[in-house]
């Protein structure tokens, strides 16, 4: 009996020890899980919304950090002040991280890039090569892969200094929405950091980036100067045929995004205008729903190029909303070591406005409009592709991808040297446009038919 009693006591003792151990462990866990050891509070960090990189002296960089000022953005339901929602700090340093350290000595908070939306590299720097900067950005976990990258035609610092979001108080949201406008304008490419890096490292594709600049026009009298400088050819001078900074527009928001920066490897080799960016989006199948104006197929001939004043009444356009009906088909065949690139595009659109008296609700007229639009787009896409080949020698549309698929072995593909072959490519572009809808009007009864001309 005493032996049984002592066994029972030992068992009870063991249970008590176990319970005590578990209680101690739980208390310890509470301390460990509180995370105070190395925590950084949200208000202890300074959030960069955009980083500008310019060329400095003697191989240095000029880095411009555009910070969000949360207190000015607004607290709770209170609306802040747009003018003070950002602050810019510019510093010269050898590296991005070196600049971060310098700025950290100036401000009371620690710099954080996890909400950064835009990396802006100056054209001057991009022409020398961006690989080392892109590598630094990709490697650092705070820079998100889907943040935007763009090329500033002037200094990135000047651009960030001039940016004044008027309609959006949150600067991060402003940059985010600003850079996705390509979806409904078609005037700039999709330009994300990881996509850029992927294309830079790709053996069958070259990268592009959005082109940004400041629009500093103060009066509409300056429009003619800008328009004459922005003309691409003699028959077509319409919206979108500009590069950023050359747009005939006056606004409080000085920032403008139009056109694309073309790269070969990590070096910027040229610029393209907004309409060419649209062709890029069409060939790559990234076109959203965009407004597209073309000269009227029947009455558009009255338009006289090169003259602006006093001929407005003679300009007749048809405005469409265009989108991809299907993904474009890009097929490549190699003939005598020369790539023959066949691009097949199928777009669909709605009529938004017709300046002329033509009734495009009739089948024959609609056919004319569809064919005219298709031909117009075919021509601009063809000219765009030729320009990538002859002027830039850069396969920015990734037409090498179908060629890569015909290879079985990696070594054979590398030895094939697609990028060299692209310089001799021939293009065949076919475009089909289908007009699906005509807005809320089924047909248009022109005033001239009712009251006679000039009444």
């Amino acid at each position: 009996m005493p032996e049984q009693k002592s066994k029972g006591e030992a068992y009870q003792m063991k249970r008590t020890i176990n319970k005590s151990m578990i209680s101690i462990a739980l208390v310890l866990v509470f301390f460990l899980m509180s995370g105070c050891f190395d925590s950084i509070e949200v208000d202890e960090m300074a959030y960069v919304v955009s980083l500008g990189i310019d060329k400095g002296l003697e191989g240095n960089l000029i880095l411009s950090f555009l910070f969000a000022v949360p207190i000015s953005v607004g607290v709770g339901g209170e609306i802040g002040e747009v003018e003070k929602s950002t602050t810019l700090i510019t510093v010269e340093a050898s590296t991005i991280n070196g600049a971060v350290s310098i700025v950290n000595t100036l401000i009371s908070k620690r710099i954080n890039f996890s909400h950064a939306k835009l990396i802006l590299i100056s054209k001057e720097l991009a022409q020398e090569g961006v690989e080392k900067y892109i590598n630094a950005l990709i490697r650092y976990r705070e820079f998100r892969p889907n943040m935007y990258i763009a090329i500033s035609r002037g200094m990135a610092e000047e651009f960030l200094n001039a940016v004044r979001p008027v309609l959006e108080i949150n600067p991060a949201k402003f940059f985010e929405l600003f850079m996705v406008s390509y979806k409904y304008t078609g005037y700039s490419p999709r330009s994300e950091l990881e996509r850029f890096y992927m294309k830079m490292e790709c053996t069958c594709n070259q990268p592009v980036a959005a082109l940004l600049d400041i629009n500093d026009l103060s009066d509409s009298s300056e429009f003619s100067r800008v328009l004459s400088g922005a003309k691409i050819n003699n028959h077509d001078n319409m919206e979108g045929n500009y590069k950023a900074g050359e747009i005939p527009v006056i606004s409080d928001t000085k920032s403008s995004s139009m056109g694309l920066a073309v790269f070969r490897g990590d070096k910027m080799v040229g610029e393209m205008a907004g309409r060419e960016a649209l062709s890029f989006l069409i060939v790559t199948g990234e076109l959203g729903l965009v407004y597209y104006s073309i000269p009227d197929p029947v009455e558009g001939e009255t338009y006289r190029p090169g003259e602006l004043m006093g001929i407005e009444s003679e300009k007749k356009f048809v405005s469409l909303r265009l989108g991809m009906a299907r993904k474009p088909s890009v097929k490549v065949s190699i003939k005598d070591d020369k790539p023959i690139i066949n691009v097949n595009i199928f777009l669909e659109g709605d009529i938004l406005s017709v300046d002329s008296d033509q009734d495009y609700s009739l089948r024959e007229q609609l056919n004319i409009l569809e064919q005219h639009t298709a031909e117009h787009i075919r021509k601009s896409v063809y000219e765009f592709l030729v320009k990538t080949r002859d002027e830039f020698k850069s396969d920015i549309c990734g037409t090498g991808r179908p060629v890569k698929k015909t290879f079985l072995y990696w070594d054979d593909w590398i030895a094939f040297k697609w990028m060299d072959k692209y310089e001799n490519a021939e293009f065949n572009v076919e475009v089909k446009v289908s007009i699906r809808r005509s807005g809320v009007m089924a047909k248009h009864v022109p005033l001239s038919q009712l009251k006679g001309k000039d009444k």
């Binding site: 050891f37 976990r141 992927m198 990696w410």
Partner: protein, 371 residues
Amino acid sequence: MKQKIKIGNFEAFCILINMFCTKLILDYPRFVAEEGGTAAWIIVLLVSLVLFVIFIIMARIYKNFSGKDILDVAESSLGMPGKIITGMLYILQFLYLVSIVLREFAEDIKVISLTTTPISIIIMLFCIGMLTGAFLGIETLARINAFSVPVLAAAFLLILFLSIPRFDTSKIAPWLGPGPAAIMKELIPNISAYSELIVLFFIIPYLDGKSDYVGIGKYAILVSGFFYTICTLTYMLVYQYPMATEFFLPVYQLARSIGIGRFLSRIEAIFILVWASSAFLYLSSGLYFITFLFKKSFGLKTRKPLIIPFAILIFSIAMTPENLYPAIRIEMEFYRQYAWILTIIVPLFLLITAYARTKIERRSISNEANN
């Protein structure tokens, strides 16, 4: 009376799936991309099929030893010294595996989440989870695996599924990468990815049916082969070779890049949850098997007093590599080249010799009886 340990078939299946697939969320897709280039996913698929065939052969031989674990087989084959040597071999394998996985998990957590926390504190935190799991034993671990693995698998599949919009088939072209000879050369060393298959031969005595291990093994290889293939394929379809060899945490990178609309972004938070849970289960199971093997090899009565000494040993080994690179290099250049020997050759050798020895013994007994 002490209750007998029992593990259900699904529970055993989940233990194996977690132990196989933990590598997927570490660095396996990158590792195989380095070896197979654009044909990495073909290597992974073929490895799973080859292992499936090898396992069927092993299971057929193992039929003669139903209900016995691999240490019992080693005893039948080479006697007590054989049992101890085999036990020590697998203890060393698991000591290495658990230590290196612990270090890799801790380093990865430091890079992506707890950037300013000392590595020793992170390893210690993992050790607490590992100790708790190993202390509670295989039944508890099996039950936790059974309800965690389906949830973790669903979260993992969600990450892969959300990557579909970024697929580009040209990224896995040229289709045969370095060529058929190079692919075939990589098949056998890559079986090392499934080196934890040996766990199945440890838990056979705990299973309900004597031959259930065959089904568990077959399904575990097929399901994890599916996960391995779709994960590697997804990674390669998003990041082309040679870029695919650059990211040290491929699935984390996939998760980080997912952005569907303005609301569905930064979903790597799901990944970190999947990752930490899977790591705790892997490390706990690993420590459990180390103590189990030690106890069984040396015929000890209890296992629990071994947990803390082995945990300290694992902590020390995990802290030995100076930085992340030697830890990864050792694993790539050494472990993954030769671990298949422990998974395939050693068990096959033991099974064949034990089978032969049993047959000889039976024959001699019948001869004696006849005489």
